[in-house]
Amino acid sequence: MVTAFDYVPAIVLLPFVSFVVALFLGKYLPKKGAYGGIAATAGSLLLSIWVLLAVRSGSAHQETYWTWAEGVGAQPFTLEFGALIDPLSALMLVIVTLIATLVHVFSLGYMNDEGERDLPRYYAGLGLFTASMLGFVIADNLLMAFMFFELVGLCSFLLIGFHFRQEGPPSAAKKAFLVTRFGDYFFLVGVVAVFATFGTAAFSGAESFPALAESAINGTTEGINTFGFEPTTWFTIVGLLVLGGVIGKSAQFPLHTWLPDAMEGPTPVSALIHAATMVAAGVYLVARMYGFYVLTPTTMGIIALVGGFTALFAATMGIVKEELKQVLAYSTISQYGYMMLALGSGGYVAAVFHLTTHAFFKALLFLGAGSVIIAMHHNENMWDMGGLKNKMPVTYWTFLAGSLALAGIFPFAGFWSKDEILYEALIHAGSEPLLFAGYAMGLLAVPVTAFYTFRMVFLTFHGNARSEIARNPEPVRWNVKGPLSVLGVLAAVTGVINMVPVQKVLGLEGIDYLHRWLDNEWGGIEGLSSHHYAEIGPYSSTYPFGTEVATVLAGAAISLALALVGLGLAWKLYNVAEPVEHTAKLGGAKELLYNNYYQDEFQVWLANRTRGVSGNADTFDQGVVDGVVNGVSSVSLVSGDRIKRIQTGVVGNYALLLTLSLTALLVAFAILGGWF
């Protein structure tokens, strides 16, 4: 019987086919491959929804498609490609394909209508990007995940550097690839370590590495090679190694620096990268192998701390940026910090929830920004905008919805997910100082987020137009407005899939759909459920405000209040007819924030140091290593030159030398032979 799962490969392959078609035939096609891309991603979306429904109807799926390589002797590793379709991946498939489809449609407006060159390359890149991400999502083992993770990196390189004829984009593309590659190095070491430790990298099943790790810690499994460490210690090391890749891709501190630069790419690509593909990949990976991470409290604490810190750290940088997309970039870093905080504090569902809502509102914000950029003739400086509210209402209202979600204002999607993250961190922080630090920073980031978000909104859309272009912006077409509308609705209402506070406060059972979904209530794979993670996880819940309900209410109130404070401040400062810069009020911090805490400078310095070292190595190589080689040759030749000098050309000398040599030999052998 044909089931939805038979078409799982097609979900990945359709965008891939679109890539191939656009690459080779794109220039002959109408719209240079855009329609093919839309068709392919829409097809994938439909199939993904079908798969989602299939999971909803109670089944899950795991299948191996292709054995990549297989050991035969002492290292019987099986390296293969397969699909793991469970509630998590099914949800993610829908998100990715939805965003990808909308981005393709939007690109018609942003790229085709704007008369960009090299469109086949653009659509080929989008197709490959989508395909890679989908391959990553369905991966049923860590190696396959790594491979598609890398391909995602490649695609980001290609798309960020799309405008290769300028100086900036190629440099940004290089930086994006290189910084994430640095993280991936640790990831790859982790993958290798997982194989060396467990002999398998499968995510699911009794022989999967999380399951083996669990039983190894319980002492029930023998033969796990932990390289002389305690299992927990070793698993912490391995977990942190894999986390390196996550930090790189999800742009967490200190590997976040590539992401703001990545704004050099076309705006739809930014939407794709930030909402559904590259950056999401890191967080998704942690969720995918959550069963491994929850085993080691240290790792969890570090994840939470990194997440909380990044959330605050990136948010502070967002408040001084002048360019629309830059603000969004820092907001992305910050929001993924929240997801990491959630994962680190045991909020598996909360993280997935925020991943979902963020995908919608961040895609929305980027596409909205793209719409503004079209209107502004590719001027991104917010100080040149203003008053666009009336000129482009669709963009404004959808952008506003996205902003409210991002700022975490009730009842938009972002409120629910962010609130749950902070709640989870709060109730688990009891005896965990790392968690508590993460929570505190996450909470502090809330007003900052609301402030920069609405600073952006007010500067862009409110007040008076501050430039000629802003007074007469270029109109946008259906292909821009359509995707914005879809996402605007989603950003407003996605919260309903998981209204835990409502459930807890009002006692309405069953409206925490996402919890039930991820808990395999309808279908799923044994061992990959949220309550399993909670069981083996290190945390216990304490309620600092007495009861659970009180804590829920207090937590929500605090975060909402803080968000409103940030919003209010932005309103006061920037929702005026002629806003001015207030950065001077920051004092010494201004320069620090403008320069992104000198993180870029630090990394450039590091890169230059490396080049310096390599220059020295080259000097050493040329001078010493090769010098020895040439020295041996020179010494040989010079000694040859000396040796031949005994051939003086004078025959008398020859006779003398001959006689002397013969005499010397006679004497030597006389002594040796004892003749006398």
Binding site: G649, V651, G652, T659
Partner: protein, 100 residues
Amino acid sequence: MVPPEYYLLLSSGLFCIGLFGILTRRNALYFLMSVELMLNAANINLVAFSFYWGNLTGQTFALFAIALAAAEVAVGIGIILALYRNFGDVDVMQAATMRW
């Protein structure tokens, strides 16, 4: 009978005189004559020990050696003549255009 050591001393002395001549003389003809002395040192040994061992091998060989020495001188004189024609001298040290 004269002990064989005496012959050896005599021939060695002669050989060394010839060698000394070679090392000190620049004139090609002297050089040639010194070589003759050295060959004759060998001949003394051959003849003496032919007597000592009681066979004729040494004496016969000495005759051949003398004949060869003569032939050698003939060739040598020819070369020295050519030397004189080309370099205007019979100084063996003069012909030193090729070296190293």
